[in-house]
């Protein structure tokens, strides 16, 4: 069996190597081989690492060799590159932030830190890191595989002269390595590099299509993430000044943090917020939608944004019981609510997904802020389930977009008849996202209980935000499912329905979606073992008391009790009973009620008789209540409130 160290090396370096290779190889068939094989290896390695950590406890080591110098050089180059981008694109914000960060980092590294300063250990891999690694490696690899099909049709659709796929896969696969680095690193210096690398990959992936919009969105993502980077560097300097250490382990010693460390912790969390696209930094994630779908999927479900919440969660023991913790809880809950509300007014599928992602991340951050054993368990569960389900949804939407050439939810009306398999998967995915007894809701349940039992005085606000946000979530998901389902049944005498649109080829893409979806459902059914074997121990490893009891496949908190399988049985019955009990004949299918003026529907849908006995096709567009929930009317308030909350956070920490 491979040693833990070598597994870590594989998980971090293999993607980087693969990425480098993919840059060189432009032949399509070789690329497939080149991508699929390492992906398999990555998945296997992450599973092996899990086994190792479960067996032996956290893995802590520092690789031998001149790695520190290498890291330093790459970091400096990276920062210089950001400055270069700022200059080349004439983007003052990027330039300013990049330059400041470069100067600050150089000052810190060369002026303040004693030369030869080493952080021991460089890597600390506990169960939380492994869970993240699993999410990154498994889901990330699946998304990369999906991208193989996707990018082919994407480029065919764009009618590009020369393929740019090799560049795409360079960043895409490299991203996975950087992410694994982020979750493994213990040394903040190393952490900073991997962090910066994700920013770089993100920037290039977003601007991949090189359109004006893509460039703009890429730059926006870059400067917002640079704000986070700057916060990170500042926090590092402060942390070093206060404690003389740059090890995450030292920062997060449970309950041992001196008040003076709160400010660096707050800065780190702030960096996490920017990465997780929390209000008011939601702009970059929304803009990231211009990128090809695998990018959005990767950014949203498994990597990038998850790096942000990972950092907040990782630091949670550090600020447990402080003002900062309460502030983070309120902030996260607020983001959860407000982005759910904003999502109600969106009719672009990817924007809905983006808002829902931000909202879920807000919930995770809120749980981290509540900072009890139950809350941390909820947060970890959310990371897992959200990654799987959001992956399904993004990838499904990606295929839809390629086949109906629109990402508007309105154009997805009645997709169940046109792309039955895909629409079915998307619908199930959304149900898994939204309703009991599936995993995401179980996590929400635990989170809400944790919030209600939270030790801070601000919990009432947190709970209120949570309940309103979860209600808003129901609205936009259910409506979307409704749009997908809305169709006209072919009754007796009705003309043949429109021929189903040819589903785009790309069996690998479908397979990936199906596998992920199956994963989501299976993990929901297996919630109890998942909690007892993975989530509770992960929390315990961070120093929290396990709060979830899973005896007999129930999930039990100190205050509540949840039996998922009963509900699974009921849902199964609901699907089965009608088919068993009722036989529907075609003549039982009646036309829809149109005030007595319906006509035999055409292939385009129901038709009614109107003005001057003319046939008028029925139009059933969805409602988005954009006057009430729209970005235009809310954005100012949302951003203002976000900034105010963050300001309150910092003011409170400093004072």
């Amino acid at each position: 069996m491979l040693s833990g160290e070598s597994l870590v090396a594989v998980l971090v370096l293999l993607p980087v190597a693969t990425a480098a290779a993919s840059l060189a190889i432009k032949d399509e068939r070789w690329r497939w081989l080149l991508i699929i094989l390492p992906s398999g290896v990555l998945i296997a390695a992450s599973l092996l690492l899990l086994a190792q950590v479960l067996e032996n406890g956290p893995l802590t080591f520092t690789p031998s060799g001149p790695w520190d110098s290498l890291i330093l050089i790459v970091e400096l180059v990276l920062l210089a590159y950001f400055v270069y981008v700022g200059v080349a694109r004439r983007h003052l914000l990027v330039l300013g932030l990049g330059a400041t960060q470069l100067v600050l980092f150089a000052l810190f590294k060369f002026a303040w830190l004693p030369s030869g300063f080493k952080v021991q250990p460089a890597f600390h891999i506990d169960l939380l890191a492994v869970i993240m690694c699993l999410v990154i490696s498994v889901i990330g690899s699946l998304i990369v595989m999906y991208a193989l099909n996707y990018m082919q049709s994407h480029e065919r659709h764009l009618k590009l002269g020369a393929t740019r796929q090799h560049v795409f896969f360079f960043y895409l696969v490299g991203f996975l390595g950087a992410m694994n680095g982020v979750v493994f690193a213990n040394s903040l210096l190393w952490f900073l590099l991997f962090w910066g690398l994700t920013t770089l990959c993100c920037y290039h992936l977003i601007r991949h299509d090189l359109t004006d919009e893509a460039e703009q969105s890429g730059l926006r993502a870059l400067w917002m993430n640079l704000v986070g980077g700057l916060a990170l560097v500042t926090g590092m300097s402060l942390a070093y000044q206060a404690s003389g250490s740059l090890s995450l382990l030292d920062l997060t010693g449970f309950g041992t943090v001196a008040p003076v460390m709160l400010l660096p912790l707050a800065l780190f969390c702030f960096a996490g917020f920017t990465k997780a696209a929390q209000v008011p930094f939601q702009g970059w994630l929304l803009g990231a939608m211009v990128a090809p779908t695998p990018v959005s999927a990767l950014l949203h479900s498994s990597t990038m944004v998850k790096a942000g919440v990972y950092l907040v969660l990782r630091l949670a023991p550090g600020y447990e019981g402080t003002y900062l913790s309460a502030g983070i809880a309120v902030f996260g809950a607020f983001v959860f609510m407000i982005t759910s509300v904003l999502a109600i007014s969106q009719n672009v599928s990817k924007r809905v997904l983006a808002y829902s992602t931000i909202s879920s991340l807000g919930l995770i951050i809120c749980c981290a802020g509540i900072n009890t054993g139950l809350a941390i368990a909820a947060a970890i569960a959310l990371i897992i389930y959200h990654a799987v389900v959001k992956g399904v949804l993004f990838l499904a939407v990606g295929i839809m977009e390629q086949s109906i050439h629109s990402r508007d939810i309105e154009d997805m009306e009645g997709l169940v008849t046109r792309l039955p398999a895909l629409a079915g998967m998307a619908i199930i995915g959304m149900v898994v996202m939204l309703f009991v007894p599936f995993g995401v809701l179980f996590a929400k349940w635990a989170g809400l209980q944790a919030a209600a039992a939270a030790p801070t005085v601000w919990f009432s606000l947190v709970v209120t935000f949570l309940v309103v946000g979860s209600a808003a979530g129901i609205v936009f998901w259910v409506r979307w499912i409704g749009r997908l389902m809305s169709h006209t049944a072919a009754g007796a005498g009705a003309p043949e329905a429109a021929p189903p649109e040819a589903e785009p080829r790309g069996s690998l893409s479908y397979l990936v979606v199906a596998v992920l979806l199956a994963g989501g459902v299976v993990l929901s059914v297996l919630a109890a073992p998942l909690v007892s074997y993975l989530i509770s121990p992960a929390g315990a490893a961070m120093g929290y008391n396990p709060a979830l009891d899973t005896a007999g496949w129930h999930l039990k908190t100190p205050f509540g009790f949840f039996t998922p399988w009963v509900l699974f049985v009921v849902i199964g019955a609901a699907l089965l009973l009608p088919t068993l009990l009722v036989r529907v004949r075609t003549e039982d299918i009646r036309p829809v009620y149109l005030c007595g003026e319906h006509r035999a529907s055409t292939a385009g849908g129901p038709v009614f008789t109107s003005l001057g006995d003319q046939a008028v096709p029925l139009v059933t567009g969805g409602f988005y209540w954009s006057r009430a929930f729209g970005e235009r009317s809310l954005n100012v308030w949302v951003n203002g409130a976000g900034i105010a909350l963050l300001a309150a956070l910092f003011v409170g920490v400093i004072v």
Binding site: R590, P591, E597, H598, T609
Partner: protein
């Protein structure tokens, strides 16, 4: 009488369509729902949606557009269903018998089960008509 037919008789939901009537019978039908006559005593609800209704109450003669709507409504009602034509013009065209846009009674468009005479039909007559219709309904197996 089985439980099901009893339930049918006890719960006729009506949908009302005004097919070029003069409104006289329509307001009398509405008056049946109101406190003085209160047909909800018999379980009658003005449900307003053909898909939920058992009894289609038509006022006024069948004109050309109206008969098309009537056919549609009738077709949308699930079995067992009944049609009640209220007023002289719904039965035969009444005073409008010689209007060019009138086809005649409602039975020109759809089968009618009960005719209620009168111009305008009194609420009492309408209630009698409903009772007659329910009698017919109880015989449907």
């Amino acid at each position: 009488m089985g439980l099901i037919s009893k339930a049918r008789v006890k719960s006729p939901w009506i949908v009302h369509y005004c097919c070029s009537s003069c409104n006289g019978c329509d307001i009398e039908i509405l008056a049946c729902l109101t406190p003085y006559y209160d047909v909800e005593r018999f379980g009658i609800l003005n449900i307003g949606n053909p898909k939920h209704a058992d009894l289609l109450v038509v006022t006024g003669p069948a004109n050309r557009r109206g008969s098309r709507v009537l056919k549609n409504l009738y077709e949308q009602m699930p079995d067992p269903k009944l049609v009640m034509a209220v007023g002289a013009c719904a039965a035969t065209g009444g005073v409008f018998h010689n209007c060019y846009n009138i086809l005649g009674g409602v039975d020109q468009a759809i089968p009618v089960d009960v005719y209620v005479p009168g111009c305008a039909a009194r609420p009492e007559a309408i209630i009698d008509g409903v009772v007659l219709a329910l009698d017919k309904l109880s015989k449907i197996k």
